[in-house]
Symmetry: C2
Subunit: 373 residues, 2 copies
């Protein structure tokens, strides 16, 4: 007998994990605009607007700025695969899942990997990067800005100077930070910077905004080997997103619509206002959680404003609390990953979820889930 | 002064090129269901349903069947990158853009490439594949089922026998054919088969359904080198889509909703009914176009039912006709690619667009665009 599949219906959860985040109605509505062809003049104009808005949000003049046709991890792979040739020495800063993932990709690209590590929950020490570069002629140095697995925000300016003294490319993961904390691509001289849509941009997952500095484009142009991924090869993708409009692959049309609307919302509010709002409610959330007797994993000055890592008290069952939040309060928060599994909760207040009522909701529902077990 | 961006609005075109195709309201509506987490139990159940329905549509029992988080070209890359290790001899059948693209990817994977070619607009001759395999120990033989750039439908059964006599994997691109023409993965003993959502499935672009036979999975499991792409590494992706549910990357949630609804629509109609419908209206369209004096590029028995290649008459300006169709009739058809640019039009009748009124609309608007210039 044939199976029967019901009409799709999904619960309206409060998504307060480290992503995906909740999506504003305006973004959902944009996704329902009729699909048109990827070479339709109307779509080409939309692409240009999206690129212009991405440049504003990344704070860059970089010509090669576009959304990669995949989720944030495709952005990471695109950043690395377009920057590394087999045999290139690459230094990766590792203090969580996403730095670890970068190492994996570097090796698949044929890069010669060296790591600078910090404890999960601590930032990378720029002095160690300087030391490592003394006897390692890295062509690329890669670091995660907001390490989603731990909630650490990595200061970037000093690192950038160190990297450029050695004439390497500075590659930064801003999947979680973009539009929720300052990401100043040009001011901070970042060469390759990528993000995801499903964090502070409040857009469904499916695209990865990315930007390449003229220095990174020059390296790409001068490669002696093809980029290892055809799908993510920016030397080809840029001909579609650039003035040539050469067909490469069909863009995810509806996702581009959604991203356009999400970027409009960000720019209507203003980047600085948005950064301040994330900081403000992060502090309020921390205050409330500390009043409940909970402790944070990361010290205050290195905390990401959008993802907070809260230490699971010894007596508490991580899974049970999260299940109760989901079942009784329709609210998703996340567990830790890797060595932090079961040891922390990760609470995300990203974009539209970063506001007074949500902070109060988390505090009251956490209290209920913790103390009325 | 800051730029102003208007509310998004896109025209409701008739998309009668080779994809993207028009999207039914039910699919659009499914996309608007609230985004939930990629590890939410509700989403895990949706994933299982999507996998079950994909197995039905691919006509396979293959466990490793899922949608890749990228457009059709990501499916091609996923198929090849997971099947090829550096140094593997790979035979690619080339008679259009997509066979050519496969060659490019094979080389980026480190495969040792040999080609069997046919004129664009003609199918591959199985005898030539047999001959090529006499002195070339291919581990993978790759072919395009419906070559979207020319409108040729490649017969697969004889090829499959030839490939398996040599103990190679048989890898088939069904981006354009899936659900519009028979694609019998198990009956035809296809080892790796991928598709796209934006063709006969009538779903916005953004996912690439793919399926691997036990033989292909065994080769993947026994690799001595990691898959060159982290994002598309099925040995990892399958742990998320399989029973382990290990986080790999965030799935494009809303696109998975859309695909689920699109697959439901396909299965409600039935595959055989759908194949017959495509064949019927293809014939009707050809008859009408021939009555207007137009000629087809591909001989009847090798024509894809969903994409028709029509030769642009000598006296006619390809661009002007397409522009007039778009501007006056809100209808998109496509030009040729590569050596066929300016020489053919490609008219797609895919899924919901494959019906009586649409065929009549194309015929009358083509007539107007051609003869009232």
């Amino acid at each position: 007998m044939k199976k029967h599949y019901e009409d799709l219906s999904t619960p309206a959860r409060l998504l307060l994990g480290p992503g995906p985040s909740n999506v504003p109605d305006r973004v959902t509505k944009a996704m329902t605009c009729p699909v048109i062809g990827h070479l339709d003049p109307v779509f080409l104009a939309i692409m240009e607007e999206v690129q212009d808005m991405l440049r504003e949000v990344f704070m860059t003049e970089n010509r090669l700025t576009l959304p990669v046709s995949g989720t944030g991890s495709a952005g990471m792979e695109a950043a690395l695969v377009n920057s590394i040739e087999p045999g290139d020495p690459v230094l990766v800063c590792v203090n969580g899942v996403f730095g670890t993932r970068m190492c994996d990709i570097v090796e698949r690209c044929g890069g010669v990997l060296r790591k600078v590590e910090a404890e999960w929950g601590r930032p990378i020490d720029p002095g160690q990067v300087r030391d490592a570069l003394e006897d390692f002629d890295a062509r690329v140095v890669a670091v995660v800005h907001a390490e989603t697995s731990t909630g650490v925000l990595q200061p970037l300016e000093e690192l950038s100077s160190i990297v450029h003294e050695k004439d390497a490319l500075f590659l930064v993961d801003t999947v979680t930070s973009l539009s929720g904390a300052p990401v100043k691509v040009d001011d901070w001289d970042i060469d390759v910077c990528y993000s995801g849509t499903q964090k502070c941009l409040n857009c469904p997952p499916g695209l990865a905004p990315i930007t390449f500095s003229p220095r990174a484009v020059e390296k790409l142009d001068k490669r002696s080997t093809p980029v290892r991924s055809w799908y993510l090869d920016m030397s080809m993708v840029q001909k579609y997103w650039g003035s040539d409009r050469v067909y490469h692959h069909t863009a995810p049309i509806s996702m581009v619509y959604a991203l356009r609307e999400a970027l409009r919302i960000v720019l209507e509010e203003g980047l600085e206002e948005r950064w301040e709002r994330h900081l403000k409610y992060n502090r309020e959330l921390v205050r409330g959680l500390e009043e409940m007797g909970l402790r944070m994993l990361v010290e205050e000055r290195f905390r990401t404003p959008m993802v907070l890592s809260v230490i699971v008290p010894d007596s508490i069952d991580d899974d049970a609390v999260r299940k109760r939040l989901l079942d009784e309060f329709n609210t998703e928060i996340a567990s830790g990953l890797g060595p932090l599994k079961g040891k922390i909760w990760r609470i995300g207040i990203m974009g539209i979820s970063c506001r007074e009522e949500i902070v109060q909701h988390i505090l009251s529902s956490m209290k209920a889930a913790l103390f009325r077990q």
